[in-house]
Subunit: 224 residues, 4 copies
């Protein structure tokens, strides 16, 4: 497995079976073996486009809550990567299906989608940088883990654009950088033994809730 | 029907069938005729308690976004009424079932609950006072309409505490005051012909989405 | 001296000479011995009215960032007390000078006034509940200390309304409650030895900056 | 004069003499004729570095409040330009004086600096995208106007790095783009006749206050 940092390992473990239910969800398996119906994939892409818009807003919120120059810079870079790069996969794949970007931007959000992004944004507004980053982590790092895992085993070529995006060296590099950002953010706020800090339990709960909301997002992709 | 102001009439109408699906939801009918299983009612109360906590946070956010003294005062009064009064109905009814308030405060939110309150909070954070108030309105005024309507027709006494809370002169007075607040807030920001204002469509969409999320909340109450 | 809690003692001490420069500022001495020109006092009251409006907004923001029911309730009570009670001293005294409340609400803020309240609000938006409360503390508790100290020594009756407001049992009770709130908020987030927590230095800096901004506010009152 | 859009012309005019007091402040004249003492310039750069950090946070906040894809993208680009480019002028010039970037990041803010950035951030938190952008405009566009004006007349080479940064084609292009963003943002929210909209007065006041705070910032640069 890829190394996305010390804190991620702790949060991932604390999330228990929920992490497995997210990263090995039936939607993921069907993406890998190519049995996911195209229609479900397209509906997922449309929802995921709107998700990325609000997810970018959450990373932008993180810029306003950063306490070091490094935190500001990495969050600014991430917003840019999301708004100008990751989103272009969705735009390209949807364009192939005849769906334009303004339609994507104005698509009606399904409830599991809305629940997830607004939860992350509120984690930021109600807490500090760490509360926000704990809610942002499962998506960024989970997609990295899923993309990497699929790419290392036999898989169908049906959704290879998606798979290669998240297993790419570039995206894996983002995950490594975000993992380091988290470790450093935890160190300066919680100290050397973060799991001993009174806030720890609350942070693992943030990570857990966002993990469950990710599983809910996959389920929405199947049910659509 | 009760008169909760001019803007409410316009927004309610613009919400179309969604308003009816919310205010005449099967959950509401079962509350009125007493056929709602007690277990569903208690689960609803627990979720609604957590809802009110986050809904109070949204009214508190409105204080920070108010532009007149009257807006500040009415929002401050509403937060107090929610945190110290409306919530006590839930605490009392749950206590009769052996559920303590700290358990209520720490209950895990179901996704439709979480989706609703975080959507309202984000309406406030992303927009101005009007964006927030348009998302707050369906709950406050819809409960007033539901409580009043049930109280005026034949109904079971099974859930009379709930019915009398929302049909009470006190709660109806809150609805009238909130309706006036909305009309005034609209007047000073959108002018005499608000439906002509470029922002109008966006505001009716806020009201519509919150209305749909209310229907989703009732459905969660039935499915539980 | 009054006992406003353990954390206040630590923050007050960490603020060093800045605390003394605030609580024993020339403006305060002139308030006590009655040599403060009436015009300066009235200008101070006008600015302080606007200050209280934005300070109420900051306490409302604290409601949105609270993590326990007790935190929510005390903050909601404080907002109400500010908006509906403390402010009435200003309204009454200004009315005696022929200044109406809408004029107060719309008065142009002097820069030291604006700097202070927006700093506090941003402390809340950029950090968590503790960051906000550390920036709110110097005003609430400092006024309590100043009012109490003046009331215990010989003083002029020129500004006795002001002095009795802040030395009153009621206001002193607010300070004691806020002090307990802070101690409890610190305990659940930083643990038993808060000064050992990596965040401690940042929090004392918040308290220190707000203390300096209080001294700047008094100076503005003299310079007006 | 450069064309930074229609709305800018209206806001600039509504700001009256305050605009002139900002753009032709003694600090600006001394920058142009080279009589500004080096020490004042360095102190200004240090404060301006911290200003840019918080100004970047305000542009990041704008991303969270954008309502169109174009708004999101331009704001994201601006944050990046600020955090990774404009700031490098300050870093470079301060490095020549032996001041490191971490010292810049941790410099204590003077009150006029703090007042300004926190006012802008609060404009965003209390209002919508337009409220924020009206408070952001005087800095971005005023620096463009100042840089351009100096570059077109005879001027000393003492501060040519500064002058060429803001008169550069690149920075002037940013001003043109931001001017278009503002015009479009106004159009979709206030319609074809924005000065007729009830919110107009409030927006011009935002622009005016930020303009005054800019003048206060220059004054701080002289007084240091």
């Amino acid at each position: 497995m890829q190394n996305y940092g010390k804190t991620f390992q702790l949060w991932r473990k604390a999330a228990g079976s929920a992490w497995n239910e997210y990263t090995n969800h039936a939607f993921v398996e069907k993406l890998a073996d190519g049995t996911l119906p195209k229609e479900n994939f397209v509906n997922y892409l449309i929802q995921d486009y709107v998700f990325l818009i609000h997810f970018s807003r959450a990373w932008a919120l993180a810029i306003t809550k950063a306490e070091t120059l490094e935190e500001m810079r990495l969050c600014a870079t991430t917003v840019n990567a999301l708004v100008n790069e990751e989103i272009s996969l969705h735009v390209k794949l949807c364009a192939e299906e005849g769906i334009e970007e303004t339609d994507l931007f104005n698509a009606t959000e399904a409830m599991p989608n809305l629940a997830y992004t607004r939860y992350v944004l509120d984690a930021g507004h109600s807490g500090d940088f760490l509360d926000l980053i704990a809610a942002l982590a499962p998506c960024v790092l989970g997609y990295g883990e899923i993309g990497y895992t699929i790419s290392k085993k036999e898989h169908s070529s049906a959704y290879s654009d998606w798979i290669s995006t998240y297993s790419s060296e570039e995206y894996q590099g983002v995950c490594v950088d975000v993992g380091k950002l988290i470790d450093q953010a935890v160190l300066i706020r919680l100290g050397e033994n973060p799991a001993q800090n009174p806030r720890w339990h609350r942070l693992t709960n943030r990570f857990l809730m966002a993990t469950r909301l990710e599983a809910g997002f996959w389920q929405m992709g199947l049910d659509n």
